[in-house]
């Protein structure tokens, strides 16, 4: 029995010495630290650089879009966009200008699994959009399949249709990357579906601010390139379930 006891103690000392040489203890402490992560919650506001800079090179366009989102939970964000657009559309047979404001609201869901203190987002979201605008028909051409008397020059109209509204739904895909401190750069694509559209009598809504160009159906697309600033409001600690990590050395 004595012999057995000495054997036991000797093995114990061996096991105690082994971790010391391999420095397993500090590694374990590190894992413990990481398992509690602080997520920052706050408001992110930004501007669409694409719309803002387009006015510099496209004389037919003036526009601005303010974007914002607020983090609700770990994955969900309330998101909204507010904008103004003044766009002249020059089609082959029609030239018209649409001017108006729009608001879009909805949510984003972050699909991206951040690790450590990263705060990047790859989001998919839904929005409801609403626009009030006016349209001016600048000029038009008469389509005549039998131009025996010659093609007529474009007719200057200058007719204005006011008080127009449109509503739509959109699926928004986007990504936002933190470039430094609280500054984010983002890129987003939206697929839109028109659900309500008050057309003027004797004309059509060829461009709806916020919805963009209308097609024959109710389909639309849009994209934005945003720079935004994150205003941290509070922090939440989340405990991540123990991750089994194999020591790298």
């Amino acid at each position: 029995m004595f012999l057995g006891h000495t054997q036991e103690t000797s093995t114990k000392t061996v096991t105690k010495e082994k971790p010391k040489t391999e420095t397993a203890k500090p590694a374990l402490e590190e894992v413990k630290k990481d398992s509690i992560k602080t997520d920052r919650y706050g408001l992110r506001v930004g501007v669409d650089l694409y719309k803002l800079t387009r006015g510099l090179y496209d004389k037919d366009y003036k526009g601005i879009e303010i974007v914002g989102d607020f983090r609700l939970t770990k994955k969900y964000f309330i998101a909204a966009e507010l904008g103004f657009e003044d766009k002249t559309t020059d089609d082959d047979r029609l030239n018209s200008t649409a001017t108006g404001t729009y608001i879009k609201g909805g949510f984003d869901y972050n699909l991206y699994q951040n690790w450590l203190d990263m705060e990047n987002l790859i989001t998919i979201g839904l929005r409801g959009g609403f626009s009030t605008f006016s349209q001016q028909l600048n000029s038009y051409k008469i389509y005549n399949a039998n131009p025996y008397w010659g093609e007529q020059p474009p007719v200057a109209a200058g007719q204005k249709y006011t008080g127009l509204t449109a509503g739509w739904l959109e699926v928004a895909m986007g990504l936002k990357a933190k470039v430094f401190n609280n500054v984010f750069v983002g890129f987003g694509v939206q697929l839109k579906m028109l659900v309500a559209n008050s057309k003027p009598s004797g004309f059509d809504n060829l461009y709806i601010p916020g919805f963009n160009r209308t097609y024959d159906g109710s389909f639309g697309v849009g994209f934005n390139y945003t720079v935004s600033y994150f205003i941290p409001l509070y922090k939440k600690k989340t405990i991540i379930p123990q991750i089994i990590e194999t020591p790298k050395n």
Binding site: D91, D92, R93, L94, N120, I122, Y140, K141, I142, Y143, N144, A145, N146, P147, Y148, W149, Q152, V155, M173, L175, A177, F187, V189, G202, F203, D204, L206, R213, V221, F223
Partner: protein
């Protein structure tokens, strides 16, 4: 992450490339022509085919092309019972010379009647691709004036207005009996 960015870029440019798809479909009803149907004066219920009719606009030397598939002068003549003639969209009247038996070598057999059609017109929105079309309304009083420049009598003996509003080519607007 980079994969997704490039995918989204390709997606956006793919969508922007298909924006110029605005071609006015030929089947879309656009500016209508005036449709004239010819009837037999002896049997008013029966359509009657014209004989080598040439229709020339006032101030024009070439007639309306009725047969696009041929290249000689027969492309200007029709032997049908219905002709469709374009009205001017920049004025409120259009004058045409209707040359009956136009290909006849005997000048006495050729009969020319001149028809001046008076109307109002309005421009109506069609679509983004087609733009606008012009529709016409025949004048309520004296919508047409028939004259006989060659003094051999009118071959168009009776003319009636069938449809005053010219909005489609699927209907007859003027009935001519001869």
């Amino acid at each position: 992450m980079k994969k997704i960015i490039s995918l989204l870029l390709v997606f956006t440019f793919g969508l922007s490339s298909c924006e110029k798809d605005d071609i006015c479909d030929a089947n879309t009803p656009t500016t209508p022509r005036l449709v004239i149907s010819f009837y037999d004066i002896n049997d008013p219920s029966k359509l009657r085919n014209v004989n080598n009719l040439m229709v020339i606009g006032q101030g024009k030397t070439e007639g309306i092309i009725f047969n696009k598939s041929v290249t000689d002068t027969t492309k200007y003549v029709t032997n049908a019972s219905t002709v469709s003639v374009p009205l001017r969209t920049d004025t409120i009247s259009t004058t045409y010379k209707f040359v009956y038996n136009s290909l006849s070598p005997n000048p006495a057999a050729i009969n020319i009647d001149v028809l001046k059609i008076d109307y109002t017109h309005q421009n109506v929105y069609v679509s983004r691709a087609c733009g606008f079309k012009t529709t016409f309304t025949l004048a309520p009083v004296n919508p047409f004036v028939r004259t006989d420049p060659d003094g051999d009598g009118n071959w168009m003996q009776e003319i009636f207005v069938k449809t005053r509003n010219i909005e489609s080519e699927n209907e007859t607007h003027l009935e001519v009996y001869f």
